[in-house]
Assembly symmetry: C2
Homo-oligomer: 138 residues x 2
Amino acid sequence: MSVIASTAAGRSGTRAHYTISEVAALTGLSAHTLRWYERIGLMPHVDRSHTGQRRFTEGDLGWLGFVGKLRLTGMPVADMVRYAELVREGDHTREERRELLEATRRDVLSRITELQDTLAVLDIKISHYGTACGGTSS
Amino acid sequence: MSVIASTAAGRSGTRAHYTISEVAALTGLSAHTLRWYERIGLMPHVDRSHTGQRRFTEGDLGWLGFVGKLRLTGMPVADMVRYAELVREGDHTREERRELLEATRRDVLSRITELQDTLAVLDIKISHYGTACGGTSS
DNA sequence: TAAAACGTTGGAGTGCACTCGAAGCAAGTA
DNA sequence: TACTTGCTTCGAGTGCACTCCAACGTTTTA
């Protein structure tokens, strides 16, 4: 906690940097997972303090937030790593990144449709259970 | 294929029974997975031919269809097994089954919301890439 | 009848995404 | 100073949902 105070950049709420446990608390990811993300290249290289400890920036937090969203789509980690690589490679990969994102968008859309179908099935089943009759199966 | 003809119950399209490979083709699950489902109790006991081969009924197919829907929700297999057990235990578990289904329904609903949030983020990102500017990150 | 195709079993292996443990160094606290 | 907390690394372990293998029996096709 004293670390937080000593590293605060001001009262704006914007911080110069965060320790790994702070980021863990903020993102819900474990410190282990954050280190693992860095190892596999899913994080841009994180700054280090003079003693070698990680110092995450606001930008890192933003990236992790976006990765969290991608994770929710069910995108494999390997694909996220690929995207991260493209970002690192610079501006000439913009088109490929856009395509990757649009493919993901299509996946999410069809996933939503799937879930809505499932919802309809569940509603039918549930309404079945609502009635007093014995039901045939399932 | 001759198996299909020889086991057909009529021209209605309703079949007396199906072999494991037919069910695999119809459901998209592998024969391995179908046997595994039975082993872990996710299938009601499947009929056998006089030589011990599985003979799936229309009812089994319906059950597998429903299980497929549950799987799409991300429900753990263990929970589906629990539901299958409740069905086997009979009528007095109807209330518990309904609750389980309603909990699942709530999960699906929040999953859909999550995905819609993600979609919004993706759209923002994608629109970023649509413009010609260099972008700051991600 | 011979070959090909499909079925059975139990148990081991795979891939993914973490998740944890051990050993050790560094910073802050009583 | 001693203790607590947190950080480091590497590598091993976990849980899930399959997925495959080997060895063998059965059924269909040529």
